[in-house]
Every structure is written in C-alpha cells, then in structure tokens.
C-alpha cells in the first residue's frame, strides 16, 4: 500500500498528459496495460505531443525501456519462471518491483520473491486504475495549461531524473544532455534531439572508469 499513493498520482498525471498530447482514452489505457513502464510511457506521449514522429516516440520509449531487460536478467535466477508465468513476470519487471526485490534479498529469496510479486501486481493495478481516472479527468478540464498539466510532464521527468544524479559525472551528463537537446530542437525534427542525447550517455559510459 505504501506505493499506491505515489503510483496513483503519477498514473493520473500520465493519463491526463496522454490525453493532452492527443492520445485517445483507449490508447492511453493500452499504453499503461501493455507498455507498463512510466518513463517510457511519458516519453512516448511527450514526443508525440510535441509533434514528433511515431518513429522518434518509439525509439525514445524503447531506449528508456531497455533497462527493464537488465532488471529481468537480474530477476531471472531469483524468480525461476517458466511459460505463462514468465510472460507475466516479465511484464511486471520495472523499477519498483526490481527495487523492492533487491532490497529484500538480505531477508532471503522468499522475501525477495514476495517483494517482487506484491510490488509488481500492486503497482500494475494502481497504475492502470489511475491512468484511466486521469484520462477521464483530463477530458473534463479543457485547457491543460490552466491546470498546470503542461508543467507536470517535465516535472515528472525531473522527479525520475533527480535520484539518479548521484555524483559530478551524472550531473555533468544531465546538464550536457539538456543543453544538447535545446541546441538541436530548432534544427532537427521533433523527438530526434532527445534520442541524440543517448549518444552522450554512450560516450560518458565507455570513456570514464568511475
């Protein structure tokens, strides 16, 4: 239950932002049901909302979703899933479920497995419920800017970014990426400036040892 309120708020913000970006209620709910990874979902609707192509939206969303694959790599030996349960487990493999599982590892594999499933299922339920509520709500409010909705999307990204800025290298990368994106915005198609900054991450990551 501790995760329900933040997840609910964030899910409602996603639902509303998705509608504001031009997605239908059905498309908005499908993104939460099928994609189910907050940062990727916000990226997809953000890129489409700012006039980007579907290709840019898919590329940005997928790059952000890649980390879930590495979480799966970490969870596979713990969960030991087969067949249908592996499909379900994979879909629930996100920041929150993996984070809770890892934090419970010291208390044994059973506790870690319980943490993964309880968190994954709980987040899935509340995320989808509040996505729908947010989407329905957004249809009723009219001008998104008058309710601060246009600031909620960048604020959501900032909230996801903030805990990752743990040292000077990550802060330097974040500032460089923001500046590069703003420089590129007027000269390349919408969506491309964001994908381009992934190259900065590759450069930063392959160079420095720390």
């Amino acid at each position: 239950m501790a995760v329900a309120i933040p997840v609910g708020t964030y899910g409602a913000a996603f639902g509303a932002a998705s509608i504001a970006a031009g997605f239908s209620i059905l498309q908005t709910c499908l993104l939460s049901l099928l994609l189910f990874s907050g940062a990727s979902q916000f990226a997809v609707v953000g890129v489409m909302g700012s006039g980007g192509s579907a290709l840019s939206a898919i590329a940005t969303g997928s790059l952000l979703g890649f980390r879930n694959g590495l979480y799966g790599l970490k969870m596979a030996p713990l969960l030991k899933l087969k067949g249908f349960r592996r499909l379900i487990g994979a879909q629930l493999t996100i920041d929150e479920s993996t984070g809770v599982a890892i934090s419970q590892e010291a208390r044994g594999d059973d506790a870690a497995r319980y943490g993964f499933w309880a968190t994954g299922i709980g987040v899935y339920f509340f995320w989808n419920l509040f996505t729908l509520l947010g989407a329905l709500g957004a249809g009723a409010i009219g001008d998104p800017a008058a309710w601060g909705l246009d600031a909620v999307v960048p604020a959501a990204f900032l909230g996801l970014l903030w805990p990752r800025l743990t040292d000077n290298k990550t802060r330097l990368l974040a500032i460089s990426a923001a500046l590069l994106a703003l420089l590129l915005v007027p000269i390349v198609p919408a969506g491309v400036p964001i994908i381009a900054t992934a190259l900065l991450a590759v450069i930063f990551g392959s160079r420095a040892k720390r």
Partner: protein, 101 residues
C-alpha cells in the same frame, strides 16, 4: 493506422520484448561493466533532455514561460526531499498560477 496507434502499439511491443528477453538470454551476454555503465547513464541523458524539451520548448523553439516556474518549484521541492505527489502538485499549482495571472 494513425501515428498515435503505431506509437502506442510498437513501443508497447518493443518494451515488452526487452523485459521478456531479460529472462531468456544468458546473463554473461550483457553482464559487462561497460554495458552496465552505459545502461545506467542512458536514462539520465534521456530524462534530462526530456525535462528540457518538454519544459522549455514549443514547436521546435526554445520558449521560457510558466512551465519553467513549475520546474523550478519542482526542483526546490525535490532538493527538500519532497515525495512525488507533493512535488507534482506544487509544480502544477505554481505553473498554473503563473499561467492564469
């Protein structure tokens, strides 16, 4: 099929495949330090550029407006370790207040 449908379905499919492949491929394949490092840095670059583009541009132009106020308030809230809902509400409220001035 519209661009919105393509974006919805294809990105959902690819993101699910990434999740699923994590359970199917041998761990040694991706368990290299450089891959791990790049993987932890890619979200930082993308999220930071998304903050900038979503908060400071309109239709391919850099625009300073009410959203920046919301972002600054969000940053202050985060630096005081405010939780997610509070931070989002403060950002929305401050941005809306400036917009409606």
């Amino acid at each position: 099929m519209s661009q919105l449908w393509i974006a919805t379905l294809v990105s959902s499919l690819i993101c699910f495949l990434f999740k699923y492949l994590g359970y199917r491929i041998p761990e040694s394949l991706l368990n290299r330090p450089v891959i791990q490092r790049i993987n932890s840095l890619i979200p930082i670059a993308l999220l930071s550029s998304l903050v900038a583009v979503q908060g400071l541009t309109i239709e391919q132009q850099v625009v300073i407006d009410h959203r920046l106020v919301g972002l600054l308030v969000a940053a202050i809230a985060l630096s005081f370790k405010a939780n997610f809902p509070i931070m989002m509400l403060l950002a929305a409220a401050s941005s809306a207040a400036v917009y409606n001035l």
